[in-house]
Symmetry: C2
DNA sequence: CCTTTTATAGTCGACCTGACTATTAAAAGG
DNA sequence: CCTTTTAATAGTCAGGTCGACTATAAAAGG
């Protein structure tokens, strides 16, 4: 922005006037992911109107005049999930999608976000009439607009973030076992991991997880009770937790 | 986007009408980086108009009605640098900035991009009247709008990309020495690296660089002539080339 | 009690890393 | 022409990390 302004002045239009008749609608789209029963799920809403009536889509909506995209995303997330604690949630900007024609009605530029939730509240009809549902990632296909692509980008991004950041704990409840944390990695990456090695690396990364004081353990499960951990203070992972067998891809 | 549509219909406004009177201007901003004499430089333009008249800013401009943000960024890059080969350039979306009030005149949502260039053509007055200049990164302060932050975000992002991708070769001419490649890392990270170790890691990463056929070497320099390399086919770096002495930061 | 299940501890060789030394091949300067 | 300087490249070595694997502990189910 900014660099163009002289040209606007030269052609005799006020800045606002020139672009007011070619407005862009700005929206946010949310890829809200969670883990249910060991598999990745995404929050989808069913569209009631054309275009794409009856199709599933990522939740989202228009920016209000006085809010940032982050604010709008948080507001929409609260509206669509019915969650109360949205304020403490980690929202990350994914990418902006601006191809002309991605919405058949008008020019829409959309800022996409990702959000990670611990296993989420079952019922959410969304504040807006639209029906909302958790759908297994693999069944979320043929979404409205370019949401297939956004969702795929979100998964790729999350997978990368798990390598270098402590984002995985966002999928877990406040207290969790290392087994649960490993399930996060396995679900997002789609690869089984060796348990002792995973444990060693997680505990070796300073600030990733911290044991719950008192040596609390999760009982009631099948085998030996697991120690409970909380998310640590670190945001980034050193050394990184790299996925196995990735060789140099040309893409 | 999309999820909100029912509400629009309910309140009796057509979609387009409702938002036409609250339009958002959409722009692109470019953080174009290059290496000159071993230090990082950024392309800036001088503003001629208020607000921020006389201040330096990142190049950029408004989206035209029928182009994507990527198209607009590429067009602006060509206009402002006068480069001919913009088609082969790697443009990467950085982030979108949408805080209300970031432009005092109107509501502007800006999609920021990064671009990396080999040591660039000296003269570029930009297609638009504005003056354009390469400025050392450390001297690019107090830019217009929120461009200080965008530039800082860009440097952080590029630094991270150097660890995991082959992006560093984008700073180099088609044929380069490992010494030049090391200078890229040192300039972006702001850390000196051990030459033999750097060399070992770069050559160990499959597809990062490929020797120029015929064993061509760069003569005319000070010491022993260096072998020439080209960018290899890989896009990602395995194993990654991590910066030294980073400990778990809480931020 | 014995099997199953899951968590946790430990082992081992291959490989990678950082720090460092040594050698080579050019240019620069008398 | 020979010495010095500079930079590229080769090689070394101890410590750390990795993946693969084995062993033990502690619960539930029959």
């Amino acid at each position: 922005m900014g660099g163009e302004l002289p040209r606007e002045e030269h052609d005799g239009h006020g800045t606002y006037d020139k672009y007011a008749h070619e407005p862009f609608a700005v929206t946010v789209d949310l890829a809200v992911l969670t883990l249910r029963g060991g598999t990745l799920h995404v929050l989808l809403v069913e569209r009631g109107q054309e275009p794409y009536a009856g199709r599933w889509a990522l939740p989202g909506g228009f920016l209000l005049p006085d809010e940032s995209a982050e604010d709008a995303a948080r507001r929409e997330l609260a509206e669509e999930t019915g969650l109360a604690d949205v304020s403490g949630l980690r929202l990350e900007q994914l990418r902006t999608y601006s191809e002309p024609g991605r919405d058949p009605r008008m020019r829409v530029v959309s800022v996409a976000f990702t959000a990670l939730l611990p296993d989420a509240p079952e019922a959410h009809g969304g504040g807006d009439a639209a029906q909302a549902r958790w759908v297994p990632y693999d069944e979320a296909r043929e979404l409205a607009f370019d949401h297939d692509r956004i969702l795929a980008d979100a998964r790729t991004r999350i997978g990368d973030r798990l390598e270098n950041t402590c984002a995985a704990t966002a999928f877990c409840p406040p207290e969790f076992t290392l087994g649960e944390l490993q399930q996060v990695y396995e679900a997002v990456w789609g690869t089984p991991l060796d348990r002792p090695n995973f444990r060693r690396k997680v505990l070796a990364a300073p600030g990733f997880v911290a044991p719950v004081p008192g040596g609390a353990r999760l009982t009631g499960g099948r085998g030996k009770p697991a120690a409970l951990y909380r998310a640590g203070p670190a945001a980034t992972l050193h050394p990184p937790l790299l996925r196995p067998q990735r060789e140099g891809r040309t893409t």
